[in-house]
Symmetry: C2
Subunit: 314 residues, 2 copies
């Protein structure tokens, strides 16, 4: 295990991939691995990229990676699909385009799908990002498909959140994006050569005028990813936001709240394990029958179990 961690810290992609798998599969070594790596984290720029299917996230990422590589940055990509395995096929095609980078030693690409809970997925994505951070990646992208609450939960673990919009995607999409609008640090209007790009920009500006009260006003960057247009401007906006985080009060706040979140997340997970264990001990057919017939209620049952766990009476 120590050897594996050592190799990963040297940047070996095979070792990194194994560490991520161990942590993702909740290996008994997971906590130890993460604890060992922690001292090496805190250097990378974690960037969340989200937007509706068809917004051009993969193409944009492709071009961004090209640019960043020219700046000698080491890059990791975590591509997350919070929809069910059911739709796995639909997204895979998109992902394949990025594979041109996959074999190069300085870009590490990892896909993640739903396994069980949504909370589990964002945790796994976060831990993968931490591993990549510790192992020397300078920039880590977390890309998600879609625009629901799931995506909000996942990309908000990033330092900088980019929201991709496309002109003419219709009102429904605009409504659904609402949740994510609030956490976007940079707006990207992709396919900006299409009709309606200016109107979309004006709409976003109106929203920002109405609701944006933060010291950082999210810039709106227009791109045509397929032709590589606007990528330099986007790289600059990303660097600006990173600088802002390192210098501002808000950046400090976010930093502290992330540290707290890390501890809370571990606590939550460990407690879930205890609950599951205790509940398994207590839950038999008799109890289920009593609950089903309503002769006992779940609050009383839970109270008894809690009494056992916190025997000292907290």
């Amino acid at each position: 295990m120590d050897h594996l961690v050592e190799k990963a810290l040297e940047g070996d992609h095979r070792a990194i991939a194994r560490l991520i798998s161990l942590v993702e599969n909740e290996s008994p070594f997971a906590s130890q691995i993460m604890a060992n790596l922690y001292a090496h984290t805190g250097k990378a720029h974690i960037i969340g990229v989200t937007g509706s299917p068809g917004a051009g996230k993969s193409t944009l990422l492709d071009k961004l990676i090209d640019n960043l590589k020219r700046m000698e940055k080491k890059i990791g990509v975590i591509a997350v699909d919070p929809t069910s395995p059911f739709s796995g096929g639909a997204i895979l095609g998109d992902r394949l385009r990025m594979q041109s980078h996959a074999l190069e030693t300085d870009v590490f690409i990892r896909s993640m799908g739903t396994r069980g809970s949504l909370g589990g997925l964002s945790r796994a994505a976060y831990e993968a990002a931490m591993i990549l951070d510790a192992c020397g990646k300078d920039v880590i992208f977390i890309e998600t498909v879609g625009v629901g609450q799931s995506e909000v939960d996942i990309v908000k673990i990033a330092d900088t959140v980019c929201l991709l919009l496309v002109p003419g995607m219709g009102d429904d999409v605009q409504v659904m994006k609402a949740g994510i609008m609030e956490i976007a640090d940079i707006f990207v209007i992709n396919k900006a050569d299409r009709d309606g790009a200016d109107r979309l920009e004006a709409e976003v500006n109106i929203m920002l005028d109405l609701y944006g009260s933060k010291a950082w006003r999210p810039p709106i960057v227009k791109t045509v990813a397929e032709r590589g247009e606007g990528i330099d401007a986007l790289c600059k906006a990303l660097a600006d936001h990173k600088k802002y985080l390192s210098e501002s009060e808000e950046g400090k706040k976010r930093f502290i709240s992330r540290i707290k979140m890390e501890v809370e997340e571990i606590l939550r997970r460990e407690i879930a394990k205890v609950v599951e264990e205790k509940w398994k001990e207590n839950c038999d057919d008799n109890l289920i029958r009593s609950l089903a017939s309503r002769s006992i209620d779940p609050y009383t049952v839970a109270g008894k179990i809690l009494g056992e766990i916190f025997s000292r009476g907290l």
Copy 2:
């Protein structure tokens, strides 16, 4: 408090609304209220209704309610919006249409928005449904906006899940719906007078052929909610599914797993409270500084706190 519960059990809508608020706001009486009501639950048919914005959920619900009222059913509606307060306005208009029923004594309507976590929202929706069940509602609708993982988590607390589809909504929508396809018990093709209704029906059938292996094959009901067409057929499908649940092995399984979920949910919530308290006690500027400088890691910190809580060493 006893008086309030008594009034609610008699069906008084103002008392029911107050109980839901107390539980939603995590009043100190919440557990006691729910424990008291539990003996009266287990009779209602809880129906989840979901689909993309614009699919016509509210109109369909309107017509369904008319039908069910003619059968002398007592009805409750919980309208859940998992997107942020940001988009509250967009949905409110839709909701207003249903208000024609709001003043009638036999239809109770309640809206719920995000408050904090998504888990919190589905729990609140579930508890509201339990309260309505205890207070004599025969049919309880849980309506959600959108088609993301959030909606999946919310509607899966229902006995029967209806997924609304509309012809010609495009491929993106189809992909995003994937997660919810698996938990749909009834497919409704609304606006079925539009071009493409037959093709959509064929597509759903293909998906069901491919992935559906359950004893219950979800029926596909075509409706034109605005003209009231297909509502009788939908009512019949709902009744059929209810009958199926009461007689089948799968229905029994679902029933038991819901009972278990109830206890687990209470355990999780109560333990989370204890942990939060302990974490607040332990989390000071010094600790944050040590974590920020990476001189200690969050796994070690969490380990110490857990040691304090579970002093017997679980």
